[in-house]
Assembly symmetry: D2
Homo-oligomer: 151 residues x 4
């Protein structure tokens, strides 16, 4: 098998691992979150604008940005967690850079350091408007922990 | 008017200020968040368990805890913000202590320090089970900013 | 032995555990940090004002407040860590509330939740002026981990 | 004047702005912090190993890493702050990745977003051993505020 095929096979396995977990998340399904890209140590997800994610000024809710960034960082960590494990978020910190309405949010999570006991990850959230313009929305730094899978 | 009446009147005004803003938050209405208590520098809210707020193990989603704690801290800050202003979250940091399913979450936000340019607040989230038992779920420390109200 | 004596004995043991570790910290000795109080899940420390801890406006440096709050939270965690273990800081987040010069800082660390793998703690820093006035300076929320003692 | 000269002149001005402030920081001078590089929105500093910066296991103290990262992020923010202003740290969050002794730490601060009221910055800290090996130590995400210069 060629190296390129090998790489595709690894990414397909990682994609499946993340997609299986995401399918189980009632909140993310309810908000309409979709998986866009999965690599070793990196995951990208999207969240469409709707009245399910708005704050009082009709922009995307900070809680929605936080939830999206949290799972982007978490799933990035999942791609490097041991087999038969999943990850749990110990804590995260998020800075909000700007508010937007319409279009969709995209969050990219990246593993900063994968330890045996603790995984440190970051995520950034961008807004993608209907006219194609892209703007930074939020940045997150988070701490995760591999835990034995219980389902 | 007695002092007790005066106090009730202030709290009624604060309650209205927070309730008016909460009513405009599509995400919080969608998740079923309810206002429980409003005082000067302190707000308590609840979030019922449903498939709209679950993660992959069917516990309350970290994103739901984060969103609830964020608005508890934010509305606590709103009670001390200047008239004709609202507040925007600059950033927050949340530690998750334990996961629970069923029952409801309650978050209490408190102002730590109200400055002219920056308001620091904290929030704690507890789980309230159907059998009446109460357990700590998460703690948040956040930074907010008064901004001119635009609606 | 009376309960009161028992309590004093436990606190003496906890004090020794913290004091032994603090005595090994070159940086804290250099800055003049002193141990004020040790209880189960709670530790108080002080840092005197000097030109070793100033920033460009001659107030206490944020780095000094951060270091003091970090070890207050860390030593609070140490009082609940298993025997033959010490604790390491996974991460912390600190909000600065006000700047002061002269007098001393005091930081009180408290355990929020002690898990087997992760300990969550908080700390607050106050300024104590020569005239006896006390003012809040900073609040911290931190995550620690018990690790096997290597010395 | 050529564009290259122009660029050098801007960087010399930025360097001077940061160096003037750093020279006033008692704590940083005391710890032996040196300025390595200054660009628009980016600053690199170093901190040599000594008994002034150690923790109980003789590694670099988390408080020293935090202080170094804080000023790296802060001085990156200073390079984009309005004239006659300096910046003050509202809050920061730091994750520790590994502990090292000997050699020196280097911290690079970068502006993530420069707003009129709030500047968001990040910093990463690396360890540089005597044998030339470089390892990641810590990552920080911080919030700063431009304030009128008072000296």
């Amino acid at each position: 098998m060629s190296l390129a095929n090998d790489q595709r096979s690894i990414e397909a396995t990682l994609w499946q691992r993340v997609a299986d977990s995401l399918a189980r998340q009632g909140m993310m399904n309810h908000l309409g979150v979709r998986l866009l890209q999965v690599g070793l140590g990196s995951v990208k997800l999207s969240l469409p604008y709707s009245d399910r994610v708005t704050q009082q000024q009709l922009g995307f809710h900070g809680g929605a940005m936080g939830a999206l960034a949290d799972i982007a960082a978490g799933y990035a960590a999942l791609t490097v967690a041991p087999a038969e494990h999943e990850v749990t978020t110990v804590e995260y910190k998020i800075n909000f850079l700007a508010a937007f309405s319409g279009g969709e949010l995209q969050a990219t999570g990246r593993v900063v350091r994968a330890g045996r006991r603790v995984i440190v990850a970051s995520a950034d959230v961008t807004h993608h408007a209907a006219d194609g313009s892209i703007n930074p929305c939020a940045v997150m730094q988070s701490t995760l922990m591999p835990v034995t899978k219980t389902y």
